[in-house]
């Protein structure tokens, strides 16, 4: 049974749908990349999966259960972790408080583990998150979501605005995320790099899926690569 199963899902803001009939599934232990041109509806689709945007049609199943009736908070508490594309930390809270916001039983222990994995954050734990650099902020956002040990991790463009060195660091972190019980949905503009660490990929255009399949096949499709993945190899 897939961890996440998105039926033919449609949704949007107000009257108009910004994504239509999107279907895909994601299993444990794998990364699935969601790519596509700017404005193709990737972030909106993700928000609908999280309950932050109403869907107009279709189903979302998490671990086999339809989650339409779950509140946003419930989805988080039941194992869906989300790092938004923008505004992904609480700027007026300190780094440490950002980590403490995630309610778990062995909080101290897990925060200590987080600092061990992200030493840059420990150095700035008393600073307000709003004062972090883009890279530090992105690390905090990812570290924060991992504290609750989510089973599905949804990352919306985690490498946006990062310097090349940091991009590699973030991809390293992401690559290590999947585990026997955990799956990752990765929204990325750097589709080549993302597909390189993914099992499968979905490419959206104008609110619809225009290509989907094993990552290797997508990368090998010359026409697709030219249109959506950028020229560099």
């Amino acid at each position: 049974m897939p961890l996440l199963e998105v039926g033919p899902l449609s949704g949007g803001y107000g009257d108009a749908d910004v994504f239509t009939d999107v279907s895909f599934s994601l299993g444990v232990g794998e990364i699935v990349t969601l790519a596509g041109t700017n404005g193709s509806g990737k972030s909106s689709l993700v928000k609908a999966i999280l309950g932050l945007l109403p869907r107009t049609r279709g189903s979302v199943r998490f671990d086999g259960a339809e989650i339409a009736g779950w509140s946003v908070g419930e989805r988080a508490r039941r194992g869906i972790g989300y790092v938004p594309q923008v505004a992904n930390v609480f700027p007026s809270l300190t780094v440490h408080e950002n980590l403490q916001v995630i309610g778990v039983d062995d909080q101290r222990q897990r925060i200590a583990e987080t600092y061990a994995a992200f030493p840059a954050l420990e150095a700035r734990k008393r600073n307000r998150a709003g004062s972090l650099s883009g890279g530090e902020r992105q690390q905090l956002a990812i570290a924060r979501v991992l504290i609750s040990r989510p089973r599905l991790i949804i990352l919306d463009e985690p490498t946006a605005n990062l310097s090349p060195l940091l991009v590699n660091q973030v991809f390293d972190i992401i690559q290590r995320l999947p585990s026997p019980g955990v799956g990752v949905l990765l929204v990325e503009q750097r589709a080549r790099e993302a597909l390189a660490i993914s099992a499968r990929g979905i490419i959206m255009e104008a609110g619809r899926v225009c290509a989907a399949g094993p990552a290797r096949e997508l990368l090998a499709d010359g026409d697709l690569a030219r249109r959506f993945l950028g020229q560099y190899a």
Binding site: E97, Q100, V101
Partner: protein, 291 residues
């Protein structure tokens, strides 16, 4: 009395008044930061709290018991109006919520005066002579009001900064969607917020009542100074609200002899205007992060 003593006395009075204004400004600021609208009913929550405290204190014969009853009743009143009015309106428009809060203010006041009438009440506290410290006149009730004010502000800040609930409130203030998708139960945070607002208002009301008298307009009269203080403080900063409250209190007391006691409210209004026009970011001038 020398002019130095006069200034010292006015400063003292100003700080005590400022603590009460700070409580009002804090209640306004917390609602603005977390629930995102200007709550004009804050003043009448205060009045309600003062009357309940007075009633319960008279009935039980204990001011402390009255105080607790006032806080509990006002906290419940505040949650009630959140659930009944503001929660629904806020999904539509923040301006509508503001207008509705003015309606709530009048509703509370007029319903209350049906039972209490318009005659003022006073708390039965022993009348003690002011202590005279080198010409500085210290009223024991003022000292009690100041201690209670400082303690309440301290408790609110401890709640905001040293408890999980406080962190959750500040997280919701920063970014409500991120708070929800981080697993924070935002409904719980809202209920806690409104309980807290009611309790703060009741404390402020009781302190005003102890300092002077309890009357139906007492809270409404403090609304303008409260907003002035909140604006001085930058409108979304709890610490700013407290500093703003003290500044307003001091300004009132120092300006009152010159503009006349009945016009000191006009000073608040001038401060609001001046800051909105020239320093919309408040005293500290820090533009808050884009949410």
């Amino acid at each position: 009395m020398s002019s130095g003593q006069w200034i010292a006395n006015q400063v003292l009075n100003g700080l005590v008044e400022g603590l009460v204004v700070a409580l009002v400004a804090l209640a306004i600021t917390l609602v603005y930061a977390i629930a995102r609208f200007s709550n004009a009913a804050t003043g009448d929550y205060l009045t309600f709290g003062a009357y309940v405290t007075k009633g319960a204190a008279t009935w039980t014969g204990s001011l402390a018991a009255g105080f607790v009853a006032g806080m509990v009743a006002t906290a419940l009143l505040s949650v009630f109006f959140y659930g009944w009015v503001f929660r629904r309106l806020l999904q539509r428009s923040h301006v509508i919520a503001l207008v509705a809060s003015i309606g709530v203010a009048f509703f509370i006041r007029h319903t209350m005066t049906l039972f209490t009438g318009h005659e003022p009440f006073v708390f039965d506290v022993p009348i003690v002579r002011a202590w005279n410290i080198n010409g500085l006149l210290l009223q024991p009730t003022d000292v009690a009001v100041a201690v209670a004010g400082v303690a309440s502000l301290g408790l609110v800040f401890a709640l905001l900064h040293f408890t999980a609930l406080g962190r959750h409130m500040r997280a919701v203030a920063d970014n409500v969607d991120l708070a929800r998708s981080s697993g924070i139960d935002t409904d719980r945070v809202m209920i806690a917020l409104w309980l807290l607002i009611g309790a703060i208002a009741a404390i402020a009301g009781t302190l005003v009542g102890l300092k002077s008298v309890i009357h139906p307009e007492m809270g409404w009269d403090l609304l303008l100074p409260g907003f002035a203080a909140a604006i001085l403080g930058g409108f979304a900063s709890p610490i700013g609200a407290v500093v703003g409250g003290l500044v307003i209190g001091l300004t009132h007391e120092l300006a009152a002899p010159f503009v006349g006691y009945s016009y000191k409210l006009a000073v608040s209004f001038l401060i609001i205007l001046a800051f909105l026009l020239w320093r919309p970011g408040g005293l500290f001038g820090r533009v808050e992060e884009v949410r």
